[in-house]
Symmetry: C3
Subunit: 339 residues, 3 copies
Amino acid sequence: QGSSVSIYGVADAYFTGIQGGTGRITQLQSSGLSASRLGFRGREDLGDGLYANFVLETGLNMDDGTYGQGAVFGRQSFVGVGSTSLGAITLGRQYTGFWHLTDEFSEFSNSGNGPSSAVIGGFGGYEPVRGSLDSGTGNGGPARINNAVKYESPVWSGFRFGVQGGFGEVVDDAGGNRVLDTYARYAQGPVDLAAAYVDDRGGSITPDAARRSWIVAAAYSFGSLKVRGAYLSVDDRSSLNLDGSGWWVGADYSLGSSLVKIQYVVNKPSYLSNSSTQGIGIGYQYSLSKRTTLYTSVTYFKNDDNAGLGRASFTIPNGLTSTTDNDLTQWVGGMRFSF
Amino acid sequence: QGSSVSIYGVADAYFTGIQGGTGRITQLQSSGLSASRLGFRGREDLGDGLYANFVLETGLNMDDGTYGQGAVFGRQSFVGVGSTSLGAITLGRQYTGFWHLTDEFSEFSNSGNGPSSAVIGGFGGYEPVRGSLDSGTGNGGPARINNAVKYESPVWSGFRFGVQGGFGEVVDDAGGNRVLDTYARYAQGPVDLAAAYVDDRGGSITPDAARRSWIVAAAYSFGSLKVRGAYLSVDDRSSLNLDGSGWWVGADYSLGSSLVKIQYVVNKPSYLSNSSTQGIGIGYQYSLSKRTTLYTSVTYFKNDDNAGLGRASFTIPNGLTSTTDNDLTQWVGGMRFSF
Amino acid sequence: QGSSVSIYGVADAYFTGIQGGTGRITQLQSSGLSASRLGFRGREDLGDGLYANFVLETGLNMDDGTYGQGAVFGRQSFVGVGSTSLGAITLGRQYTGFWHLTDEFSEFSNSGNGPSSAVIGGFGGYEPVRGSLDSGTGNGGPARINNAVKYESPVWSGFRFGVQGGFGEVVDDAGGNRVLDTYARYAQGPVDLAAAYVDDRGGSITPDAARRSWIVAAAYSFGSLKVRGAYLSVDDRSSLNLDGSGWWVGADYSLGSSLVKIQYVVNKPSYLSNSSTQGIGIGYQYSLSKRTTLYTSVTYFKNDDNAGLGRASFTIPNGLTSTTDNDLTQWVGGMRFSF
């Protein structure tokens, strides 16, 4: 026992104003550029490329001091062994490959503001990007998986993949409540290509429902200019049948300490007509150092008459929209400190 | 990412016995001399006197291992940037200037025992010193403020000030549920003078109520002898109209590792006759080192017939007082370890 | 304030399958070999053999990221002073000596799997080994005690003892709800002998009930072979009268990085006939390093017709047993990382 632990994290807070057809609101929120977090991790070299490691990571709401994800180490909590040549096996609560792609291939990550990939989120309560209501309970899925075993390969000439299974822990039902998750990714030079798939049998809300989500994502770098985008689809095989699809495309350009970015996002539920949400936003961020970044953005959300307005952001307060005007404009200004 | 985080805190626990007109109780409690806490903080120098920093601080109940203030980082949770010449801006959950004065100008701080400034606390549920029932929810006020932006000036020849606003996060109502907080302080040589003001529009219990609290405080050092005191007043502009005022005066004398202190406290609700609480106490503390201090105190509380007995301490258990004798005597003995 | 804090802990997760008369279940669980935990501790040397210290320790459920024991620092939370010649006094939430013996004299510790001492647990809801339902509230007892003052002696020629009292914090009732705990232990050369006693007046569920538990334990080392065992008894003096007794005996043999262990456990409630649980298991563990250990085990549980099946492990899911076959087989495979 001793000093092998390191502490890391992100403290990120921002002002935001949202103006809708009939109202406006001003807030101070957490996690504008990256998710605020406090983590503890350790790694031991065992020789011959073998190692053991663990991660415990708290999701932080900087605005009120609470933790997120319904568990004190609700972002990640796992222990594992790995080999530089054979890959790694980890046990615990872990992110899905699906979630990672929505984070890493989106100009605005999957955070709760702007034209982020969380605008897609999901389709009627089932949220493969944001994590569903039952993320903190049940099987944890689909963004994070409880009781999970994950295998991740090493990188072979830019290619790697991962497979993860979360036990349902239901008597005599190997499938009930469990989650399967897999991804593959190829990143070499300017190219980054990825796909992921989640098969989620339940969670606390509708155990034994079978919902399948998949995503394909791509990014390409032209020097300082990067373009990226993704398409995702949810097949809700529960009796609710809340299917849908969505996509986004974005670009960013970096010059010295500055970065300009733009992204367009579409969410399209297929079980309800005239219900799409579109978002287009532009952002600017300035790094005072490697650790400290200031950022701002403006986004315009266009919601069709029947659009689930929750699509426009993680939580749109009641009263911002009306029967005649559901469109929203959001501005954001904040700072991120990484440690 | 790496090693820029430092861990700090206080582990403080004490025995206490309280004897009332009709009963007695013995307890082991947390936070006798200072509030028990565990904190994580980091600071990065950005050059030219500019810096970025963050604080995450848990309030600890050492006696049962739980956290206080209704949130895992319920004491403080913020991120900010500052300049040695222009001052600092911080975003998150933060203490009010009002709370700091009740802590720093009181011989017994604003802790839950003895003749502390928490004896004043508040007047009928609204508690600017201790923090109200809705501290962990709503706007967090009035001791700590959620969703808050704070500006603090640098020190100019001993003078400094701070202004803080906590967003109400209510649609179309810039004022509803929000908190404003401001303080000014002058400390030079033996003199320390301060004033603070909190305008609190709500919280979860009575949103849109407008309660205004102010405090003036002073301290003076005659070599090893210090005297200090304060006067505070609450104007409850909600329909309950639970106004009141209070004051305290104390002194301490240090000799080597020893410190003796005495304080007199008065709480006077103005909406109810014959309802004052008075407390007078004497304390002794001995520092085994810079980090480790032993302490003891005895306090006598005189409660008028209609006194809200909660005034006598954070929580006076039922059964310690009677209709004919509301007075209480409390002894305390404990230790504090700072890390 | 500064850098006197060290972080330590255990990240331990395992697969387990349980097969009963009528069903089976597969799970990923936390704390197979040792209890997963994250701790913060500090110690200051005060000179002349005197020191001050504190411990804050979170119990971790690695499988879902939550904390255990009903409190964020629910394993341990205390501050104290000690002397190498006079012993130590600590204040806060602390383990009982009883709990330590069930952990340290059991081949499978008191964890939630295999033929661990937790199989004995208790007799009808009162659980001196595992900790009762009210561990997180009330007096915290009997495994951990809230509001507790503990004295532990130094080691005199292998002998040491400890006494601990948890205040009931009930008005006018020095005995109500409080816990008393004491142990004595002699460890010299190959011999390790110990006894402990807990007198528990209540907790939140049945305050003022008086339950008394005692345990005797012994271990002996023949070189690389160790044998150990214990006998415990609960006298439930509440109106429920849920008395019982249990014992276990085990042995382990270490060879290089390998350790083989075997243990037999019996739980026998005395208020109900034909209600015993027996468990016999064999385990193997292999240390990849001082910090990292892989482990596996198989256990067979024989439950009498009226056996409280909760005895067979911390939580046996419904549906694994039937009226005709209550026996269970459990296999376990996992890893532990100590930091």
